[in-house]
Symmetry: C2
Subunit: 355 residues, 2 copies
């Protein structure tokens, strides 16, 4: 039994693996593999249309939102977004609450003015900045909803007048949110949406109108929308895995239902860690992520022992990111409560033994 | 029995489907799916390293070549390349021999001077331009080795002094070529390399040195090379399918061996079509593609009948591109000779019946 706590690419529902595996041999009884079907066939059009419509349904998007699947991962959006909306005389506001936000800021600066209105760099990104002012002329405000590496999460949507842009790569579809408040949402698929190799973008029609029409075709959001994610050959299989994962989420009861389980999982883990002095939780309690729990020990030898023990018990992917150290336990939608329970049992044993 | 003549995404070897299907359930006996392994694990590093080394081996690349896998398909290279190498005072030369070349030219014009040194637009791209001069100051000469839509192929490498750049999306690894003569080669995977969702780039080290260092990180070839295709999360599964396909090609005897089969397949089809007056081959004989055979009939009713017959016999993907009409039979590496034989038998029957 393997428990996969990988930060991403990460665990997906087992039914998704089974269905994807089958579709590679024989997709929908066509006698063809999903890997060899043309993207301009009705076979794939149905896949894409259902995936888009499930995103709209699960996120409860209103009629003003367009949903597209793009190549390139969230890192491509770090520059594609400012390439479309910034120029020397235009300013965007960014929150700097972790590695990914920092990267997004770096790329945006190539295209226009960037105002970093809030940062938690002073305490190694262990909290989410709370009090900050955003200049009214900012064409958008950009933030990362969940900081995968640092284990922080923004639990409310900022109350701002300018268009909100969010990188939701590591917590999209994991909790109820008013997604309609955002002008632009993007998320690499490889946590809660599907496998690595595709990027989900939700864009408000009014915000779309303001995008550039002079950028290269592949950078042009309007062209991607008007071509229904088929401006060029889309990553067919990656989108199919999204469809399977979205179907699974719907079957599980949707975002509200999965949020309850996510709270149970994170609650159990954080409660356990809080009660064992051996472990240290660096993140401000109110900003803890439900997706990625980060913790450390004060003893390097014990850390190694704990890691070896986890490995022996089939617990995969719990080593912390090299920039933070310690441990990181990722608990995306597809991770079952029983995996967290197994880890918690191991943590308790370890705590008792080395207290 | 299905015969898949799709133009792309297209047929892959059956063993690739079987192995990919298995790896989704249990990758290398890890108990993990290939879809849930971290890209910074040794599990994936081995996949990537073997894929890169097989590309080098099969293409017989010298030590001056770097091999990377990028997001975004060939269409992204249409702008990423000129973004790196062109500016208002720099010129590139392009050949315009089909839809994809035309698109590449359009994107290049956004970044610098573009000299279209040769075009076959005058005869609807039914031939490859032969006599043309390329200005010596061109920073590169760009052409498409095989025109998927129009069914033409360039059977020799131009003898030019400036760096050669080629879009080899639809014929890479299908025939022996001195790949070392190119400064830059790119190819969407979804024909001869693997499934849709990843792009192969081969770049000469000297040409790499001349790339821009001020473009966005995801557009920066040097960063992709120095990060070994892992500047951001790569499309893990798509690269794994490349690896499986490359292994298959090696087992088949490599490029020289597959070229012989490709010549047999195309030879059989073209010979058959040439001898039946019902069918018309629009492409200049010396420029016919071994990968995509384009043909038409003079009778629309008969075309419909032929298409229906093919469909009834499990022949998939033979309808011509909407811009050309008629039929297109794609015969990539993974298509077996027996599929072409089956089609040829059907063509002969049809020819006899409606002669």
């Amino acid at each position: 039994m393997v428990h996969n706590f990988n930060a991403g690419p990460s665990i997906l529902p087992h039914t998704v693996f089974e269905e994807a595996s089958q579709a590679i041999l024989n997709f929908n009884n066509t006698g063809l593999s999903i890997l060899e079907i043309g993207h301009r066939t009705s076979l794939f059009e149905e896949v894409l249309n259902e995936a888009v419509s499930l995103v709209k349904e699960l996120m409860k998007l209103d009629e003003n939102k367009e949903v597209i699947f793009l190549h390139g991962g969230a890192s491509t959006q770090f520059f594609q977004l400012p390439m479309n909306y910034l120029s020397k005389d235009k300013k965007a506001a960014y929150m700097d609450a972790g590695v990914w936000g920092t990267k997004a800021i770096k790329e945006a600066k190539r295209f226009g003015q960037v105002d970093v209105v809030a940062s938690s760099k002073d305490r190694n990104y262990t909290y989410i900045p709370k009090d900050y002012a955003v200049p009214h002329e900012a064409v958008y405000f950009h933030y990362t909803t969940n900081n995968t590496i640092e284990g922080t999460q923004m639990h409310s949507i900022p109350n701002l007048s300018m268009p909100l842009v969010a990188d939701m790569s590591s917590d999209i579809l994991s909790r109820e949110m008013d997604f309609n408040r955002f002008a632009f949402i993007y998320a690499g698929a490889q946590k809660n949406i599907g496998a690595a190799g595709v990027n989900l973008v939700v864009i408000d029609k009014k915000f779309l109108e303001k995008s550039s029409s002079t950028v290269p075709s592949m950078m042009d959001y309007k062209q991607h929308v008007s071509n229904g994610s088929m401006l060029n050959t889309p990553p067919v299989f990656a989108i199919y895995v999204c469809l399977l994962t979205l179907r699974w989420l719907k079957k599980m009861g949707g975002v509200a239902a999965i949020e309850k389980i996510n709270q149970q999982k994170a609650g159990l883990l954080y409660d356990t860690l809080e009660n064992i002095p051996l472990f240290h939780l660096p993140v401000a309690k109110e900003d803890r992520s439900l997706m990625n729990a980060v913790f450390t020990m004060n003893n390097e030898e014990l850390e190694k022992k704990f890691l070896a023990l986890c490995k022996a018990e089939g617990m995969v992917g719990i080593k912390g990111h090299r920039s933070v150290g310690g441990f990181r336990v990722s608990m995306y939608n597809a991770l079952s409560l029983s995996s967290v329970e197994a880890l918690v049992a191991l943590i308790k044993d370890f705590g008792n033994k080395y207290a």
